[in-house]
Structure formats: structure tokens, C-alpha cells
């Protein structure tokens, strides 16, 4: 009983949670969303570029995409984040006069996400039946327009669920940005919880942070499942018999 009470006080101190909530809403939530959304957007654009390079007919482009992907997928997120923001941060500061590591953190997350998103797009595009390209070319479209108007749109549609998953991962990984040492107004959900927890010596602010993440990620996870199902089965799957076949033509048949 004593243990339970102690655990309860450590994790579910409602007063501590209540104290941290306003800052989480006002500062943490917007920052988490800004970091995840901008890294997601930049990562998606870079990822499309990487995917197109990866399926390019130019071997140099393919190699660049391959090496980039291997490196950024093969390293721990925290290492990339620190190397990029600590390594390139000073250069960025000199060039722009902006001293916060916030943009560098977003850049690091975006570069990592791009490697995964690039692979998602590439596999999606390559999963499109090659008859689609052939049919488009047979109509008289060139290779480029065929890819752009017929193949790539089908590939992208297929990978929407995987892309959403990547965005969920970004929401969670945005917490790593705390290692860069941000200003109070730049803190995201996790760091606000962490700061409050170290001030009070109570872990309840972490629980509050956790609830914030779950409120963001669980609905997204279910949305992914819904979209996935919808793409798999389609809205309607009605096949009709060939009722018109018999009335066509003059009956010559084999």
C-alpha cells in the first residue's frame, strides 16, 4: 500500500500535472507541431527528390541517393541531430546571424526523415505495374510525362499510410531536440515535462507529456489504419457481368 501511494505521488501528482499543463498547451504543443510539420514537409520534398534520383536512369543520381539513404538510415537519430546542429550550427549562425539551434534541429530531423520517406516513395513508385508505363508510352507520351502523370501519382497514393507513419515517428522524435539546449519559448512538449520534473523532483510532468504525445499519435495511427484499409479494399468493389458484350459486333467469333 505504501509503495502504491509512493508510485501514485511520483507519477500522478495532479497538482504538478496541473501546473505544467498551461505551458504545454501554450508553448510545448505548438513547438512540437512546428518541428514535426516542418521537418515532415521538408523531408517529404527531399524524399521525393531522393526517390526520383533512386529510380533515375542516370547511375550517378542513383548512387548519390543510395549513399545518402544508407548513411541517414544507418545512424542513430541522436547522433545525426548532434552532429548536424553542433557541427553546422556555428556556420549557420555566422551566415545568418540566427543563434538558436532550433532550425538546425528541424533540418537534422528533416534530413533523416527524407531518407526514410525517399525509400517509401521509391518502393511505391516501383510497385506500379510496368504495364502502366508501357501503356502511357504506347499512347505517345514520352518517358518523363508518363512517369509524372501516370506512374508517380499512382505510386504516391499507395504509400500514404507509410507516409503518415513517418509523420508519427517525427512527432515522437521531435523530442530529441531537447539535447540542443533551446530557449524557454522554443521548448517542445518533452522538454517542458523534463524541466518541470527536474524542478519539482516529481515525474508527473513526464506523464503529462506522455498524454500529449498519445493524444497526437493514437488518432493518427487509427487514421493510418483507416486509410490503409480504404486503399486496400476501395470504396466499391462491384464487378458487373459483360452484359453489353453480346450486342456488340456482328457475331464473328472464334
Amino acid at each position: 500500500m505504501d509503495t502504491l501511494t509512493r508510485l501514485g505521488e511520483t507519477f500522478l501528482d495532479w497538482k504538478a500535472i496541473g501546473e505544467v499543463l498551461p505551458t504545454m498547451f501554450a508553448v510545448g504543443l505548438p513547438n512540437t507541431l512546428i518541428i514535426a510539420l516542418s521537418a515532415g514537409l521538408i523531408g517529404t520534398l527531399l524524399g521525393i527528390l531522393l526517390a526520383l534520383m533512386g529510380i533515375s536512369r542516370n547511375p550517378v543520381a542513383r548512387w548519390i541517393a543510395r549513399i545518402y539513404t544508407d548513411i541517414f538510415r544507418g545512424l542513430p537519430s541522436i547522433l545525426i541531430l548532434l552532429v548536424i546542429s553542433l557541427g553546422f550550427g556555428p556556420l549557420f549562425r555566422e551566415a545568418t546571424g540566427i543563434s538558436t539551434p532550433y532550425p538546425m534541429g528541424i533540418a537534422a530531423l528533416a534530413l533523416m526523415a527524407a531518407a526514410y520517406i525517399g525509400e517509401i516513395f521509391r518502393s511505391g513508385i516501383q510497385s506500379v505495374d510496368k504495364g502502366q508505363l508501357e501503356a502511357s508510352r504506347a499512347l505517345g507520351f514520352g518517358y518523363g510525362p508518363s512517369m509524372r502523370m501516370i506512374v508517380v501519382p499512382q505510386g504516391i497514393r499507395r504509400v500514404l499510410p507509410a507516409l503518415m507513419n513517418q509523420f508519427i515517428i517525427l512527432i515522437k522524435e521531435s523530442s530529441l531536440i531537447f539535447t540542443l539546449g533551446l530557449m524557454a519559448s522554443e521548448r517542445e512538449i518533452f522538454q517542458i515535462g523534463r524541466d518541470q520534473a527536474s524542478l519539482s523532483g516529481n515525474l508527473s510532468p513526464y506523464v503529462a507529456a506522455g498524454i500529449f504525445y498519445l493524444v497526437l499519435t493514437i488518432p493518427l495511427t487509427h487514421l493510418v489504419n483507416y486509410i490503409d484499409n480504404r486503399l486496400r479494399t476501395g470504396k466499391e468493389q462491384k464487378h458487373e457481368p459483360d452484359e453489353a458484350a453480346a450486342v456488340i459486333g456482328k457475331g464473328a467469333h472464334a
Binding site: 505517345g140 501516370i150 459483360d242 464473328a252 472464334a254
Partner: protein, 245 residues
């Protein structure tokens, strides 16, 4: 009386190899304007590849291709393919576009028709294959036979001078084959120049004007259906016919 502005098609000494695999080894073929040639032969004999070489989806290693007597090897291949319609075994309709848009798409983008005019022409083509009422739905909701008729409408909408059919009925359930063959027969009778790669010996014999028997990347026999089906000269054709008939 021809409904189509069709042209003759000639392939001269066409060669193609994928690495060491010689797929076409000197093919000569001539299809008169307004006639239908069927290309028959065992799997792997190079029939489908021949079609792809003649519309330059695959460039030949050697040889020449003539449309209406003029070599087209130096033309822009994309423009050449607008003059040759192609229908595939697996239909290859664009699944993310409606049936009508499948037909209208190339009209807008390649023939540069305004949107409503392209749609009106697409509906007209769909009407010819009996599927105007399906213009708004996605291809996946149609049966295989219906999908193949849409694919034919899509190719015809470009007003091609020649039509290629690559085993157009092979992927269809038996009861759906009839409608597609009937449509192809109608096209042949209306004077479309056609090259039909097929396993449908009935079509080959009764509808086409010329039969080309290929085996091992060469034309083994070439002549009227009468000649090839009743008096096959070579042992290879005799064996092939006894296997398939």
C-alpha cells in the same frame, strides 16, 4: 469503304537481342493498308516483342520500319506511337482515372483538345464499344471484357493509322472473349490496318487477311489463312497447329 485513315506497315530485316538472347533474327513483315495480319506462334517466339519493336517501344538493333511506305526510324518515337494504337493483354487502363478520363486523357494532353471536346470524343469512342454509360466509373469496377473494350476505345481515340493487339483476349475469362473478338472483327471489317498477336486460331483463320507464323525469332511461314491452316508447308507449323487446334 474504309472508316479509317489507315496506312500500310512494313518491317524489314528486324533484329533485336537482349544481351546474348537473340529475340528477333531478321523479321520481314508487310501489312497492306486496311488489312489485318495475325501473328501466331509458340510462346517465346518473339511475337509480342515484334509489336514493341514496330512501334519503337523497344528500338530494333537493325532493320527498318515503314509506315505508308516511309521509314519512321528517324522520326520522334513518341509521335510515331501516336499513329499506332496498341492494346495489351493486361488492358493496362489507368486505375486512378475514370473510364472516360482514360480515353480523354491523351486527347487533351497529346491532341491538345479542349477539355469538353476531349470528353465528348471520349464518350463517342466509348459509345462505339458499348460502354458510354460507364464513363464516370473507375476501370476496376468493370469486368475484364469491358476493361479491354475501354482500352480499345482509348487507342482508337487517338485516330491511329494502325492498331496492334498483343494477345488482347488471353487474360479474359472464356465467356468474355467473344465481345472483344467481335469488336476486333468489326474494326477489321471497317478497314483498320491491324497486327494481331493471338492464340485465337478462329480469329486468325476467319477474320485476318494474312497469317504470319513465327518461331524462334524468325517468320517461318507467311501467307493467306487458307494456305497456312490447310496446307502448312513446314514441319514446325504443322506441329504448332496440331498442338493448338
Amino acid at each position: 469503304m474504309s472508316h479509317f485513315e489507315s496506312g500500310s506497315l512494313t518491317g524489314k530485316n528486324l533484329h533485336l537481342a537482349f544481351g546474348h538472347n537473340k529475340v528477333l533474327r531478321g523479321i520481314d513483315i508487310h501489312v497492306e493498308k486496311g488489312t489485318a495480319a495475325s501473328v501466331i506462334g509458340p510462346s517465346g517466339s518473339g511475337k509480342s516483342t515484334l509489336l514493341r519493336v514496330m512501334n519503337r517501344l523497344i528500338e530494333p538493333d537493325q532493320g527498318d520500319i515503314l509506315l505508308d511506305g516511309r521509314s519512321v526510324l528517324k522520326d520522334n518515337p513518341d509521335e510515331l506511337r501516336r499513329r499506332i494504337g496498341m492494346v495489351f493483354q493486361q488492358f493496362n487502363l489507368f486505375p486512378h482515372k475514370s473510364v472516360g478520363e482514360n480515353v480523354a486523357f491523351a486527347l487533351r494532353k497529346l491532341r491538345k483538345l479542349p477539355k469538353d471536346q476531349a470528353w465528348a470524343e471520349a464518350l463517342e469512342q466509348l459509345d462505339k464499344v458499348g460502354l458510354k454509360h460507364k464513363a464516370e466509373v473507375r476501370p476496376a469496377t468493370l469486368s475484364g471484357g469491358q476493361q479491354q473494350r475501354v482500352a480499345i476505345a482509348r487507342a482508337l481515340a487517338m485516330k491511329p493509322e494502325v492498331m496492334f493487339f498483343d494477345e488482347a483476349t488471353s487474360a479474359l475469362d472464356p465467356e468474355l472473349v467473344k465481345g472483344v473478338l467481335a469488336l476486333m472483327t468489326e474494326l477489321a471489317q471497317e478497314g483498320m490496318t491491324m497486327v494481331v498477336v493471338t492464340h485465337e486460331m478462329g480469329f486468325s483463320r476467319n477474320v485476318s487477311n494474312q497469317v504470319v507464323f513465327m518461331d524462334g525469332g524468325v517468320v517461318v511461314e507467311n501467307g493467306s489463312p487458307e494456305q497456312l491452316f490447310t496446307e502448312p508447308k513446314t514441319e514446325r507449323l504443322q506441329k504448332f497447329l496440331s498442338d493448338v487446334l
